[in-house]
């Protein structure tokens, strides 16, 4: 696989998510923090008008309009579409300076902690996720395969798109502890990308194991002597979304149940409380299987009618033998 030559760090795809915006500003003032020997690191504030206005978006959600249909619109009116086209002309696959990795930094009102979002299970991304998890066991990996993000998110403009979600933090608020944890995670990501690029050993939780010596007679086939190691990785994979209960006029009639609030990445079992209606009734989860809700009570998802995203938990083994 080709090496990573250019990494694009992005903030402000949603203009009211201040963690990424101020982190990018910090990096722009101190570029040495994000410089690594084996690739170029560039920073970008993406949705400039939304940032200036302190809102999620001006005309439409920038993280849903980077698909082919929007990118090929002639003379678009909406600011976000014009800006997406501009970013694609610079950093897209056929751009002037194409980005190998786009790391888009978001924040959420949900209790997502430090979450890495992968839109596909490319071995390169799984190795990155497993290496980061080895260093930071409380890192969560959310896999959005089938959610549509890999077609229309801003990060989809890069060869490898990755998203950070950090929370809980209110929209329009800069919170120092999350800011510092996000910066530390970005630094670790850049370090691992640099290690992958240089074929250096990645951080592991399990000791590196050598392949068992074969007892078969030596043949002319070359015997692999390279150390290999299978590293554990827990991935929470998108299943679907859960809407809010509504009345006939479309008004929300129930809130996230207090027992579920803040319980992102915890198991939700059949019969568990899920909503509390405005009239005081508890509504139970009627699904038949255990799921793991994430993005519980995300402010920006009210308009998308998403009370939470349901995921399935998978425990994978990632092969560290292959390197870039």
């Amino acid at each position: 696989m080709d090496k990573i030559r250019r990494v694009l760090l992005v903030g402000g795809t949603h203009g009211n998510e201040l963690t990424g915006i101020y982190l990018i500003r910090r990096f722009q003032h101190a570029p040495q923090l994000i410089s690594r020997p084996s690739f170029e690191t560039i920073t970008l504030l993406s949705n400039l008008e939304a940032i200036a206005a302190g809102v999620r978006y001006v005309d439409q959600d920038m993280n849903r309009c980077c698909d082919r249909a929007h990118l090929e619109l002639p003379e678009p009116v909406d600011y976000e579409v014009r800006r997406a086209q501009e970013i694609n002309r610079r950093f897209g696959p056929s751009g002037s300076t194409p980005a190998d990795v786009i790391l888009d930094i978001h924040s959420t009102t949900s209790n997502m902690g430090m979450t890495l979002i992968l839109d596909d299970h490319h071995p390169f991304k799984l190795r990155l996720a497993a290496a980061l998890s080895a260093q930071q066991p409380d890192l969560r990996i959310y896999s959005s395969v089938n959610s549509g993000r890999q077609q229309d998110a801003l990060r989809s403009l890069g060869r490898f798109g990755i998203c950070l979600e950090v929370g809980p933090v209110a929209q329009g608020v800069l919170q120092a502890d999350l800011f510092q944890r996000t910066e530390a995670l970005v630094q670790q990501i850049l370090d691992v990308l640099n290690q992958q690029n240089r074929d250096e050993p990645l951080p592991t939780v399990q000791p590196v194991t050598t392949q068992p010596v074969t007892t078969q007679p030596v043949t002319t086939q070359p015997v692999t002597t390279q150390p290999v190691t299978m590293q554990p990785l827990t991935v929470y994979q998108y299943l679907g979304t859960m809407p809010y209960p509504r009345d006939t006029e479309g008004q929300i009639t129930a809130m996230i149940h207090p027992h579920l609030q803040g319980r992102d990445y915890e198991s939700l079992n059949p019969g568990d409380p899920i909503f509390l209606s405005l009239t005081g009734e508890t509504l139970l989860y009627t699904g038949e299987t255990v799921v793991f809700p994430v993005f519980i009570n995300e402010a920006a998802y009210y308009e998308k009618d998403i009370a939470m995203v349901l995921t399935q938990r998978h425990d994978l083994q990632v092969d560290f033998a292959e390197t870039l």
Copy 2:
């Protein structure tokens, strides 16, 4: 003093503060919850367009445009001013159905817990605050005298204006635990108003004391035999606001220090950390007196350049002998 005849409960003065909005909707569907024998209770969603758009305001902050200047503007263009005039024509002092009490329900991203805001120290309001504190020791009383709120806030349209601030909760989020606590507090307020109206004893923390029997010879002057009690009340009184550090271009260069985040109503001493700059330096509080910050890191105050509001703590004694 005249009795309270009409109480107006308001939500949605800021369209992205969902606690008040959904609480008013709940009361509109179940008016028996807020009905009390001695007065009429009415509900109002104030900033309808901002509620529909899910934003704080459409044209300007509705809670800053209820002053005389705005109310007397002929043919105003801004939605909030038109709406303020409409509300004033109904519930203002010369309105068709004037409100004796306006209780405006707000929420905040700051850790304000359950806060009652008084814009003046009218004995009626102090008794209400002390009676509520007797029932709910973690209730906080913030006094905004001299902050300008008593001239331009929506609640200033009532004979007695009172504000609830509940937090922390993100803008655009409905959080069940705070919703329930806010409802309980509104119920208590209505109960105390009803008790005041009917000259019933108010909830106290200290036993009711009878005035000492006079040892002077009986005269023709009537001797007061009414029980009196002085009740304690802690009030956090507005001193001024603290802006964010900024660079020459007006960009914010520091965040609320992690040690201060969430410490609303706690003492801030000279030399305590107050900001953490984006370059990692800790900035200290350079004031010479102990203060009590509130509204720390409120999302909506970034545009007003308020990092926090500084208050002074006063321990008062409130006379429960006087009743309505």
